[in-house]
Amino acid sequence: MSTEVQEIQFRDATARIQQLKPAVASASRSAPAMVAEEDNDIHGEKMVLNMGPSHPATHGVLRIVLELDGEIITKADPDVGYLHRGDEKIAENMTYQQFIPYTDRLDYLAPLANNVAYALAVEKLLGIEKQLPPRCQYIRVICCELARISAHLLGLGAFAMDVGALTVFLHTFTEREKIYNLCEALTGARFTTSYTRIGGLSRDIPDGWVHECRKFLEEVVINFDESEKLLTRNRIFVDRTKDIGVISKEDAIDYGLTGPNLRGSGVEHDLRKTHPYLVYDQLQFEVPVGSVGDCYDRYLVRMEEMRQSVRILHQCLDKLPDGPINVPDGKVVLPPKQKVLTSMEELIHQFILVTQGVNAPAGEIYFGAENPKGELGFYINSRGGGTPHRLKIRAPSFVNLSILSHLLPGHMMSDTVAILGSLDFVMGECDR
């Protein structure tokens, strides 16, 4: 395996933008212009096409009502909510701890990252995020980055498959399988991990896991190279993604895009860098940024992010300290079973925690974490006690999808598939 950097000849970014500007302008104008110029027999009548909610390219139950003039989209109306389960309502009716399994079902491609984000939000409310033991913080970072690789592998594989490169999907899924095996060994579940607890983790890393993880990291890098060889200079892939679905920097910010979609448009913003949580400030990594903001840039950003995640994981595994994994506070974390059976105080703590939950102070907080899809935020409004008065989930996929009605018009029908693939959303999170 060669680790040298591949030289890829990109067109100069500014030249690409220059070339692009008239193309975009004419694309958005072409629809009405064509009607006026050409034969009225064919044009003038628009067709409404219902894409989804069950469509292979919508990755879940997204429905888009497209208005077409020939093959050009003139209007797009995304319709979400087919997977709405009322997670926020459910959260108001249970303790903070009990809600953790529900976070698995938000972005179900990266459940570990959701667990961590939610636990950190509640810990911020309790004011104990600084007390987390170092080992817990490192393990949580490992969880987040494994989840990021897993989510991006699926995102890229599905994206490539949608635009016709089927093989990549098989490659990336092989690696995802290994991540699931690691998850199973670590958390006891492959898919719905529910790994974190308020103030710590459900269990420590098992013996030999670190070694397995290192082995996986070495293998996955080879897989990145293979996938990249299949895509980055693939003529068909490049033709279908370059200069398609261009999101300008201003639009990206105005529409509140986050994550790789924001960085693909050239905004250098990563919560792991700007507001480091856990131990991200002690780790070396770079934030890839796109220059044009098209589908191809978003693909490149994700590809590079995975490599950076591998870098972070290597550092974490090297530095992983010993010690406890839970906050040493019986009023937050369940005491060990042995003590519950022998000591009165621990028995009381256990009883209170299970029946009433942690005693959170009154107040409100917002915590955003850099998840694979973007900024996953939790707004918690507490009036004291063990249940939130209101818990709002700021789902990155929901916000990222809101740009569709602005982005799609002017594109060809077949570009929809490439744009949806490059936005990389999960409906479980969007609909909550």
Binding site: K89, G256, I365, R390
Partner: protein, 222 residues
Amino acid sequence: MSATDLALKLRERFGELLSVPFEFRGETTLVLTDAEKIAEVCGIAKKELGFDYLVDITSVDNYGEDPRFTIVYELYGYGHLHHLRIKTNVGEEKSELPTVSAVWRTANWHEREIYDMMGVRFRGHGDLRRILMWDGYPYFPLRKDFPLAGKTSEVPERGFTNPAPLEGGPFVTAAGGKDAMAREPRVRVPEADELKTIARLERRRDLGRADEQNPAAIGERR
């Protein structure tokens, strides 16, 4: 410049309309007393104080209090990397405030969601439809007086809901109660249900009879 300084600057501009900023867990919050001014305040915050990214809009139902609803705006600036929260209250009778979708376009979907879930309307919003629930759904599910189990509703040819089986508490299975097949009434038609049950009972009876005649077959069948 810290987030509090930015909040104070905003307060200078609007005076008594905005409360004194207060901090909790390192986050600065301002309360706007007159909800009618929200679009103006947000416009100034974006243009003059650089809050170019609207992270989220949230609604809180203070059921039993007056004013009933609180709308919470989470602002962020990519230039100065500070976060600011602006809250404002809306009474139940009015349930309306101006939209900020002209300030940030991302507000469009957030406001639609609040309208959908809480029933607060945004004046001037061009496209205030339900977003997560379907058009014509009669309730606002995130209000505190809406039960967790849900309510019966029906919009012909679109969708229907029935209360979820809760058995005394949220998502509790009572020992000795009905099994999951019997508890889940949502997707089943009563007539077809009855037939199925009878067919199942008959099948069970047949198997029992077969077992009596040939006890060795039990292990085989399993």
